[in-house]
């Protein structure tokens, strides 16, 4: 093996591709060759690096230096100064822009521990980082029930929104005697403001595949389907490559590691409908139907795809499983409070200094997440509110920022962890406008199957539009709450049960803004 002095990781994300990262890479290689450095400096493509500059971002190891927004014109200086003379180019440094306010928290990561560090298109790098050890351990030394017991003990709860205990979910499906069982991975990720699953899949596709294999072994499934939204082209491409490599290495396919366990993983692409993220609607979509949700029970764990027992789990949920099996439930329980163990990946956006993602222990306060991991507010502007959990989330004011982000603590605030989206708004943001945008989303995404949601979302949109225009009355505010409460009680699925969350939190915390807009 060659010995390289430094490794340059180029983050290949959609934003980077758009900024011409491919041409950049070629130009960088040429420049290194010109200076005869091609055998000393290694260039690697990796997933998104976890921070969002505008465009091309680089990390250089072992120095651990981040560059952001690098252009082709900068290459000559970069090579000359950094790679030849060992002096990092100050003006391109990421830290410089944010005065060192950034915490990448790598040491504490579970789900994203490899993202931005390994080449996601090379299975050997995943294996080199301890990948597939958990699968080997499970298949050779553990019974399926042991795997379930370990996941149960870890306290892992679903990261797709509802927080259902994962081990418990698996334990419903495992004992069922069926000729075919399925694992379905929910990678539909439609909650506005959420892109964590995309970054997990782009940055480390094998961690998902290993988790799927563990889940399949645990419940006795031999087929798995990843249902992924059509817009995630890079994820789809990377997952396809990863599956092909794993099959080639005998890690997926027939008789894995010489055992009787076989598994085939397939990728299915969605066609653009938020409701298809709801697990039974997703199953309908997989079968080639309109994505209308099904009645529960029977739950998918008993009757899912083609009426066969099916475990549906979110991408992030499953990406935790390799860690739990490899290091044991106790190691997982070291992270977060007892009833919400582990870490959580958040996507931070809006008027925040560093939009991007972070993975922190459950129970970390929202204030810490925003200030320490998001770099605080953009320079010179003040915080007003955060919309936490996406459209089906809640508006939180400053005085609620010290809430600990875990399933139990949020319940006390009548809030939910949801998908982990944190949208930060500045002091000039119009909350009425923002709620209007949220309700427009629901109106568009209601699937139309049940009347409370179909009619309710339209009515809510009409009411908020009237208020936004300054034509609303006190009675309209009351009616909004009444309609949303009625929808919460009577809608067929959680989509129609959700609008009450943003409405109630907006009115509870920012009522004066609504009242000021009324036509008195």
């Amino acid at each position: 093996m060659k010995y390289y002095r430094s490794h340059v990781l180029i983050g290949i994300s959609d934003a980077a591709l758009q900024a011409g990262v491919k041409e950049f890479e070629t130009a960088l290689r040429n420049e290194l060759a010109k200076k005869n450095l091609q055998d000393e400096i290694n260039i690697l493509e990796t997933g998104p690096l976890g921070f969002f500059g505008k465009g091309i971002c680089l990390t250089v190891y072992p120095e651990n230096i981040q560059y952001t927004d690098v252009k082709i014109e900068d290459i000559a200086e970069l090579v000359e100064s950094h790679f030849l003379k060992g002096r990092p180019v100050k003006r391109l440094l990421f830290e410089e822009a944010l005065k060192g306010q950034v915490n990448f928290n790598y040491a504490n990561r579970i789900v994203l521990k490899n993202s931005g560090i390994i080449d996601p298109e090379n299975i050997e790098e995943y294996i080199g980082a301890g990948g597939y050890e958990a699968l080997e351990k499970a298949l050779l030394k553990m019974q399926p029930n042991d795997v379930i017991a370990e996941v149960k003990k870890s306290g892992l709860r679903g990261r797709g929104g509802a927080g259902f205990p994962t081990g418990l979910k698996w334990s419903f499906t495992a004992p069922i005697d069926a000729d075919q069982k399925y694992i379905v991975i929910n990678a539909d990720e439609g909650e506005p403001g959420t892109f964590k699953d995309r970054l997990i899949m782009e940055g480390d596709p094998h961690i998902l595949l290993e988790g799927i294999a563990l889940a399949a072994y645990a419940v006795g499934a031999t087929k798995a389907i990843i249902y992924i939204r059509g817009e995630y082209k890079l994820c789809i491409e990377r997952l396809r490559k990863a599956i092909a490599q794993a099959v080639e290495y005998g890690i997926l396919g027939d008789k894995i590691f010489g055992t009787e366990f076989s598994l085939a993983i397939d990728i299915k692409v969605g066609a653009g409908a938020y409701v298809c993220g709801e697990e039974t609607a997703l199953i309908e979509s997989l079968e080639g139907n309109r994505g209308n949700p099904r009645w529960k029970p029977p739950f998918p764990g008993v009757k899912g795809v083609w009426q066969k027992p099916t475990v549906v789990n979110n991408v992030e949920t499953i990406a935790n499983v390799p860690f739990i099996i490899r290091n044991g439930a106790d190691a997982f329980l070291q992270h977060g409070p007892a009833k919400s163990s582990g870490t959580k990946v958040y996507t931070l956006m809006g008027d925040i200094a560093r939009p991007g993602l972070c993975e922190v222990d459950m129970g970390t306060s929202l204030r810490t997440i925003i200030n320490e991991f998001g770099g605080g507010m953009k320079k010179g502007i003040k915080f007003k509110a955060a919309l936490v959990g996406g459209a089906a989330g809640v508006f939180l004011p400053d005085r609620m920022l010290d809430v600990n982000m875990d399933f139990e603590s949020l319940k006390e605030y009548a809030a939910v962890l949801g998908s982990g989206a944190v949208l930060v708004m500045n002091e000039n943001t119009d909350i009425v406008d923002m709620l209007w945008s949220v309700l427009r989303f629901f109106r568009h995404e209601s699937c139309g199957k049940c009347s409370p949601c179909k009619l309710g979302t339209a009515l809510l949109y009409d009411l908020i539009s009237k208020i936004k225009k300054g034509e609303g009355t006190m009675a309209d505010l009351d009616q909004m709450v009444m309609v949303a409460e009625m929808m919460q009680q009577t809608s067929f699925c959680a989509l129609g049960q959700s609008p009450i969350m943003p409405i109630k939190s907006a009115l509870d915390n920012f009522r004066y803004e609504f009242e000021a807009r009324l036509n008195k």
């Binding site: 909650e191 506005p192 892109f195 956006m349 809006g350």
Partner: protein, 151 residues
């Protein structure tokens, strides 16, 4: 074209969504014609009304001819916060069409869409398979001009 696409998929109903995707992508006007629906119905042995039910459910399908370039501007809250409505106004003037319409030269169709999962770079739009982020009123003009020039 149909034969080539059908050859990739077993004639089972669960392949409907993918077959429709492929046909629509192949068509220069990115839509599903009556003829296409008829052919798919025969191949899969699925009634035409089921197929229309599916097409009208998912936002990525269209039964109307569209432009060569489909612009999908995200209107979800994070992009809205970052000024997607100003981007929409700009696009309307540059293209001379509203959302849901196609330019007279058949080059562009303007549409709204929900969150594309690229909110770190809001406001965002997609043109066919490409994502464009951190949009400004200036940058959208450049992007459109570039496509116009390169047709």
């Amino acid at each position: 074209m149909y034969e080539k696409i059908f050859a990739k998929y077993e004639p089972t109903k669960d392949n409907l969504i993918y077959i429709l995707h492929d046909i629509q992508d192949e068509h220069p006007q990115h839509y599903l014609s009556e003829d296409a629906v008829q052919r798919v119905s025969e191949y899969l042995n699925v009634p035409v009304n089921h197929i229309y039910g599916v097409i009208t459910f998912y936002t990525m399908y269209s039964t109307k001819p569209r432009g060569n370039n489909i612009i999908r501007l995200c209107e979800s809250p994070p992009c809205y916060l970052k000024g997607s409505d100003n981007i929409y106004k700009k696009l309307k003037t540059v293209l001379g069409v509203k959302a849901g319409e196609t330019t007279a030269d058949g080059l562009f169709t303007l549409e709204f869409c929900a969150c594309l999962g690229v909110c770190g770079n809001a406001p965002v739009m997609m043109i066919n398979d490409d994502v464009y982020g951190n949009l400004t009123e200036e940058s959208v003009v450049t992007i459109i001009e570039k496509i116009r020039g390169g047709k």
